[in-house]
């Protein structure tokens, strides 16, 4: 069953077409990555999903049907940058926003206290939000997003302003939430986080979907016919290798058609090359991202 199903949505603001044609589905219990360069239409697409904007065309099904007031308490949204009242105390802000999501005041307070404790913010709960550091505000935003234990979590750039320790904590939290059955849509530019966390992705550019599907399948789709090799000496010439290029601290060997990596490995071992590294060259998501966007612009 799909938690979110988006079918051919389009949204314009005056003459500006923010989203022209986007379709995707998010399955229950997965972490879904929504990627794209700046101005790709990701945020507009999210706002259409959240019913903040009505689409000009297309349909959105969220938690099995169109959005309504009851469903709003079943989802948590964290916008990019800020999002909390700045002039009130952190605790009051969390409790108020929690009660708007259907929690009682006591319930909201108890849950906020627990989360503040685990996010190491308990000592700052009586401070005004604007008095908190950027990292603390980001953590407070995350608390606010999950306070009411939503089924669907939509987060825009969750790792902004977080140090490595807190980044890891948020990643662990997201995996824990996924294990508990929550569905997460994550919008980010940090590709390595997407590689680590996401099950499936949608890459958008200029309001359209460029790449969509399982992350591993997409990487396979973009992987060339090559291997990465590192040895303690110079590499001898190998039959079937049509090109050699330096790739970080390794050497990338582009293979001819009909040659497979095992053939290359055997040949290297036969020539007594001492290997430190031998792996099939798979492009990083960064590379896929750049390649897909460039190809998208050319078509």
């Amino acid at each position: 069953m799909h938690t979110v199903k988006v079918s051919h949505i389009a949204k314009s603001f005056g003459d500006v077409k923010a989203v022209t044609d986007v379709s995707f589905e998010v399955e229950r219990g997965e972490i879904f990555g929504l990627l794209g360069p700046n101005g790709a239409g990701k945020t507009t697409a999210l706002r259409v999903i959240l019913d903040i904007f009505k689409p000009d065309s297309g349909t959105v099904s969220i938690l099995e049907g169109p959005m309504n007031d009851e469903k709003k308490s079943r989802l948590g949204y964290m916008p990019e940058e800020r999002g909390l009242y700045q002039d009130i105390t952190l605790e009051r802000c969390l409790i108020y926003l929690g009660t708007l999501k259907g929690l009682s005041k006591d319930e909201a307070r108890q849950r906020a206290e627990k989360l503040l404790e685990s996010f190491d913010l308990a000592d700052h709960k009586t401070k005004k939000v604007k008095e908190l550091s950027k990292g603390m505000q980001q953590k407070a935003q995350i608390i606010n997003t999950i306070l009411h234990r939503p089924e669907l979590i939509i987060i825009d750039e969750p790792f902004t302003a977080l140090d490595p320790v807190n980044t890891q904590m948020v990643k662990d939290l997201m995996e824990e939430l996924r294990e508990k059955g929550a569905t997460i849509i994550m919008c980010t530019h940090q590709m390595h986080q997407v590689e680590e966390l996401c099950d499936r992705i949608l890459l958008m550019d200029e309001g359209k979907d460029l790449l969509y599907g399982n992350l591993n399948e997409i990487r396979k789709q973009f992987s060339g016919h090559a291997v990465l090799v590192r040895s303690n000496g110079n590499l001898p010439s190998i039959e079937g290798v049509v090109g050699i290029e330096e790739h970080n601290s390794s050497t990338k060997l582009n293979l001819d058609d009909g040659i497979n990596p095992q053939d290359v490995l055997s040949a290297l071992l036969e020539k007594n090359v001492i290997l430190e590294k031998f792996e099939i060259a798979v492009p990083s998501l960064d590379e896929i991202f750049i390649q897909a966007v460039e190809e998208g612009k050319q078509t």
Binding site: D51, I52, Q86, L97
Partner: protein, 400 residues
Amino acid sequence: MSTLWLIAKHEYKRHVMRRAYILILLSLPLMLTLMIGLIIATVNMENDDRPLGYVDQSGVLTEAIPAPLDSSLETPVEMIAYPIREDARAALDSGDIQAFYLLPDDYMETKHVELVYVDDIGDDATGQFWDFMRVNLMSNVPQGTVDFVTNGADITIRTPDGSREFSKSQILSLILPLLVGIGLVVLIMTSSGYLVGIVAEEKENRTIEILMTSISPNQLVTGKLLGIIGVVATQVTVWLGFLFGFIYLAANQFGYEWAQNISIESNTILMIVAVMVPAYVMFAALMTAIGSMVSATQEGQQLSGLVSLLLWLPMAFMGIIIESPNSPLVVGLSIFPASAPIVITMRTVFTVVPFWQLALSVTLLTATAGSAVWLAGRALRLGMLRYGQRLSLRELFRKA
């Protein structure tokens, strides 16, 4: 707890807990208290409570009786009789009295009185001496006649249908609707800041996006309006409480006649409520719509100035309203929603507003207020995520 109540309560607390609000809340009472205190202090400083002397050669004050005071604020000035001018002069020179009056033998014929003083004497002492004279000159006249001569006639003017009447002792009751009208203008102007900035903070913080995924735009705008109405109601209650307290003190402690004779007819109260409530909602919703359309609070405040101009517009027609309160132009202004609240309340001072005009005006005001609330909700929904970009009127109505 309903969502509307939660939003209203949050909005209310957010404003009333601010230091600036508390200062505004207390500023009017404190300012008035200070002004009244200064006036009383100035008057007291100018007044001289030392006794007044008199030398009565005419015999009209032989068995003098004291005159009652006009109000309890007055300090009684003692009247001391001296048999001869020289004694009075000696008392004046020694500072025992501030001045003395000499009533010559032929006072009853000439009505000439001589006043001898060193420094100017205070108004209250002069007033009290002439009250003293009046009471004693008419000591043999029945009390009713004395009151009539002292206070003059209390003429009551009634409209032909008897629905309204005017007496000079009820001056405050008569002008009350006008005061309420002006009060409305002041209220709208003071609350326009809150209304224009109704979603400014949420837009600036991006909290609006979180709110929109929790509640509907209509719930947000209605809840916020309720909260701000609560803020304004608190302000009105405190200010009215102070005003009534002041009137109570004036009537019961200081004995002022104008304060004792206040009576407000139930029809007047009904009319004020019927006109002012939809008028306030209409202007509040318009301010809210402006606040939702603009990109910066400052820009909203400039635009809200135009709405305030609409409120003050009837003042430009004040001459016509006073001279011809039933002329077609004035009747038209009474029915036009933007000018109706002020023009109707002004007309009630000078004429009887026909029921059909009042009913039509209230109906139009209510309909306009409803439309304005709808418009505010729409402006909020369309304009809430326009960061740094104003929503144009064309867009507002085109997307409607």
